[in-house]
Symmetry: C2
Subunit: 682 residues, 2 copies
């Protein structure tokens, strides 16, 4: 594995190449007749199976069981056009199928009435990401967000009273956090939860229109109870954001007194999810319905919390909800793979224009421009699948122990944020590419890509807006992730962290052993073989992250104190914001590459490992290509090497091209999902 799988081929006809000399990678002439790896001579079946086993990861049996479940056929996107109301009805009616699979029950601990298999649960939801994202989100709201809030923020009495009804769907619920005025900055929520000692109730109130709960899934039509987040006021003191269970509809579905329910109406996608608006006019609920794991009110009306600092308490509460973010990334990964399976299969069959002098028309995927659009995206999808698997394993490890390892929890949050951003940004871009790569056929809903794209589009901005999450990642990088740092808001923590910063600590999330061995065994990024050598590629990724983190820390150290001049401090922070986000993105790229490397290292099938090595090269080089201006500006690559990167991506696209169908087949998208008219016609 020391040598990168497919290598970087030069192009003899490459524009700049021929004019220059000097040592370079092995020259391979590539073109329409692409070179193939050894694995091409194998029959596709076993190779597909071996690749699928690698991509499926630890909970492959969970995936296989769901793929073979005949229910998949009834869950998949409908052929006919439904009205919003019909689609909502359909999605609600599908929820029992999900409940039946056990995926929901796996997500709760044994003490909570589940089976305590967090990893299996997320994997099951991911597998369902190819059938209909409305269903995935609706189920996520019910079991993950509503159920998760009760499980993680409540205590035993809440678990006993509510979780069985969450699981058997006799109680449908909402997760009412976002407000119209505060979607990203949820620490500033304005809804009030006021303890009334006279009646020993919590009074839930929406003080002004900007405090209206907004975009709340399950609210517009089906939800009966909402987990409502607001600032808890006890004896006139504000204890920060807490969560209380509030009935919003009676048994007949009519809004409860004091509750105003609105409908967000039609959206770009997710037509089966009934997003709505909730306002509360001094609605009273028993004190017992405060989810009180992190803050309870005594019988005598005194507030107690195991975490004294309100900021730290708030971030700890948010941290327990990390699984939602992990699941959103998982769903996005599944959506991108589904889009690629459709577009790659189409491009492999569809022919357009004959080469001059020949009668035979050329398949779309034989055109370099088409390879350039789809194959680096395919490589990145593979990389992200491995990174997601590793993240889910980490989640499972953290959540399967009862004792709370706060440092591990913080590291998991940072990592979940990085992968969520990487997955959703990639999925959004890739589905757009897939739509365009299928031309007019991609625009028809019957061919599903446009439908998945529309559903997926909101993933980049919900469950944490990607820009906001990148700042959370940057905060983790500057405070070394494991420091439990929750006394300040994000910007404050970043500025504080920068002042304490003593050099970037590159923490390996996956495959630390093999990654270190590869880097040490190579000449690193400065060796002439850096681009073709896995250790060199790893070093190039790591070096970029380290440099960006260290230089942004140096800039932020010079920012004036917020106590002295808050406006100047913010302006100086703001001027470094693009730099900060870039550092966080570089971190995400690095941990994704490391996960890919670790997965290849763990792959027992030589042919599969060989092909994955080539795909990993394509991922590594296309990522370096995207940032090659940075590498040039910072003297990390010579202009000659930079041109080699471009030529290398072209060559690797040609090398991967004959295996493109094998790779998308290995994604294991059920045949019924890929049964669309454009593939029947082509």
């Amino acid at each position: 594995m020391e040598r990168a799988g497919g290598g970087v081929a030069d192009e003899t006809e490459g524009e700049p190449m021929t004019a220059e000399s000097g040592p370079g990678p092995t020259t391979t002439d590539v073109g329409l007749d692409a070179t193939t790896t050894d694995s091409a001579s194998q029959p596709p079946g076993p190779l597909v199976d071996a690749l699928r086993a690698a991509l499926d990861g630890r909970w492959g049996d969970v995936r296989e069981e769901l793929r073979d479940d005949p229910a998949i056929g009834e869950l998949v996107y409908p052929e006919e056009q439904l009205t919003m109301e019909e689609y909502r009805e359909r999605t609600l009616a599908q929820l029992p199928v999900i409940a039946r699979t056990g995926a929901a029950r796996q997500g709760f601990t044994v003490a909570q009435g589940g089976t305590g298999e967090a990893g299996a649960s997320v994997t099951a939801f991911e597998t369902l990401g190819c059938v209909d994202l409305s269903l995935l989100v609706k189920a996520g709201v019910q079991f993950g967000l509503f159920g998760g809030a009760i499980a993680n923020l409540g205590t035993h009495a809440h678990h006993a009273a509510y979780l069985p009804r969450v699981l058997d769907l006799s109680l449908l619920g909402c997760f009412a956090m976002s407000e119209l005025g505060h979607g990203s900055d949820v620490q500033s929520l304005r809804t009030t939860l006021t303890h009334d000692p006279e009646t020993d109730e919590i009074v839930v109130d929406t003080p002004d229109p900007s405090a209206r709960k907004e975009y709340i899934g399950n609210a517009a039509r089906d939800g009966r109870t909402a987990a409502v987040f607001g600032r808890l006021l006890v004896r006139g003191e504000n204890h920060g954001v807490h969560c209380v269970l509030v009935p919003i509809r009676d048994a007949d579905g009519a809004p409860m007194p004091g509750v105003t329910i609105g409908d967000c109406g039609p959206k770009e996608g997710l037509p089966g999810v009934d997003n709505g608006r909730l306002s509360f006019d001094h609605v009273r609920v028993p004190r017992a319905d405060l989810l009180d794991r992190y803050g309870r009110i005594d019988d005598d009306g005194t507030y107690h919390s195991p975490i004294a600092n309100p900021d730290r308490r708030f971030f700890t509460m948010l941290g327990t909800l990390v699984r939602g973010r992990v699941s959103v990334g998982a769903g996005a990964g599944a959506a991108a793979r589904t889009g690629l399976a459709l577009a790659v299969t189409y491009a492999d069959r569809r022919r357009q224009f004959s080469a001059p002098g020949t009668a035979e028309e050329v398949t779309l995927l034989d055109y370099r421009a088409h390879q350039r659009r789809l194959l680096p995206a395919l490589a990145r999808s593979c990389a992200l699948a491995f990174a997601q698997n590793a993240l889910v394993e980490a989640l499972d490890a953290v959540q399967s122990v009862e004792s709370e390892d706060e440092a591990a929890q913080r590291a998991l949050e940072v990592r979940a944020a990085a992968i969520k951003v990487a997955q959703t940004a990639h999925a959004s871009r890739t589905l757009q590419t897939c739509r365009e790569a299928c031309g007019g056929a991609g625009y028809l809903l019957e061919n599903r890509i446009a439908r998945i794209k529309a559903d997926l589009d909101v993933f980049t901005t919900f469950e944490g807006d990607n820009t906001v999450l990148l700042q959370l990642v940057a905060k983790g990088l500057l405070t070394h992730m494991r420091d439990a740092f929750h006394e300040l808001d994000t910007v404050g923590t970043i500025l504080f962290g920068a002042r304490q910063f003593a050099g970037a600590v590159v923490e390996r999330t996956t495959g630390a052993g093999v990654v270190q061995r590869l880097i040490s065994g190579s000449g690193g990024r400065l060796a002439p073989t850096a681009l073709t050598d896995r250790g060199g590629q790893l070093d190039l990724f790591e070096d970029r992250e380290r440099h960006l983190v260290e230089t942004v820390a140096a800039r932020l150290r010079r920012v004036p104190s917020t106590d002295d001049d808050p406006r100047a401090a913010f302006a100086a922070f703001n001027a470094a914001q693009d730099h900060l986000l870039e550092a966080a993105l570089a971190h995400a790229d690095r941990i994704v590459l490391e996960a890919f490397v670790a997965a290849i290292d763990g792959c027992d099938d030589p042919a599969a490992a060989d092909l994955l090595g080539t795909v990993c090269d394509l991922f590594a080089l296309s990522t370096i290509e995207e940032h090659r201006a940075w590498y040039l500006e910072h003297g990390r690559l010579t202009t000659r090497q930079s041109k080699d990167v471009v030529a290398g991506v072209n060559a690797l696209c040609a090398t991967v091209r004959p295996h493109a169908r094998t790779l998308v087949d290995a994604f294991g998208i059920p045949a019924v999902v890929l049964d669309v008219p454009m593939l029947r016609d082509a």
Copy 2:
């Protein structure tokens, strides 16, 4: 105008800047309190008016009249959710409003029964691009494509018989060119139009399923007659693609005998357009319904054409339809500006997170990351508006003369292709950015961005797929555009052109005088001031285009002859395809910058010209930034200059930020279009 308006400011806190020395641009400290240009001290009204006049261009009166038309209010996107059938009904019902405006009539010559104001007609359609793209496309199909085919491919008898009914909507029609198997390669259409001398009829036939007409607007529901393209067979000889008028429905709307009509069903967007499928089973129409300007059949059954070569004839016929492509670019430009007006206005009002140590929350548009997302896109939208205006003037000039200047026609086609690609790619990317920049609010259809985005998405692949069009542009660049070169297919022409190629000829499409003066008066791209000096910026753009064209020509010259080894020839062509597309994109960027420069030169208002100068800097620098790896690799920029470009874009974003609302106000989007809940709430 010799100095670029806003200049490039260094950033004292810029990551790489402080570590290095050497001569650089003037240092300006920018941050939250952005610097402002002189024009900021003017009251906004006159500045908005002056900017609007500049952006509106020659047919500003046409735009103003439509903006003030009370009908706009009824045409704009519906608030309620309609079924596909209801939306189609609504869009059909709106067509008479368009017919009433005169925009359609302006599009035909006086001889054809119109008023011969091509430029005014396209401008009117562009202005309507902000209200509802379904309507724009439906009208475009009826008047532009169906009416345009009759006007441009037919002769007097067709004009007299059909165009009045096209204009008064008593005859609704389709443009049936694309086939399932051939969407981009329309020269290979398989539908047959066979002359039967016995009955003197044309027999229209769909020989196999791949020849089915696909994605045909107006076909699924409303069209009565289709302009059907297919290969004309006369006395057993194939004369290539021609067009014949075929009734597809009777007066009651039932399909005519032998015509099978399908429905493409729901699409990602454009719900008001009834795209359908047409198949013909030996359908007979009178010989007189062959549109015979470029190929007619005599009474004795002999075929005649003014253009002997079938390839040349085909491309000439296609060339007459250039207005459709110009209009698609225009509509995309309008859509992008509408999206930006919504997102910029939202970002200017919406606040999220307070700066540490302050109570006041920060507006989204004060964050650098948010400026980076929206403001370079805003600058590019301005640039494209000017380039579109210049293109429409050129179209008007070519189409207002009766005599056919073939060279001018060819140049117009190449330019229209380049601007169509630039506009649609920009609009697609920008609307995605706008959706994400508005978070959850952007995802709700009530706020319109997502709706426009979904409608617009197909613009990159219809009326010429962008990848295919870029090859058409490249063909023009290699054959010097004015050479009327239509004997070969695109790839063949490109290879032939490369062999004849004697150096890039940079033809200035707009503002040749001022552009040449600025470049000559500057030190050019090699001067230390190149980045801040308009002449230097122009030279950097031009140099990139020239180098890419010359090097791709050199590569293609070495391609083996297609006669000797067709497969090797194609493989070698294909290996250069990414290079070729890059050359075409660089050409588009260059003509867009030149149009911007010419427009500033023609702007009489000093404050408006000053602000436009700053916006032009942002366009120029953000474009160079996007390609700075290329500039570095080819020794066109030093690493220091490359970092200056990044810092310059940041500084210019801060400079433009206080004027962002002024600029989107200058787009002149009617208030009713911008009246959406997220802007009422914010």
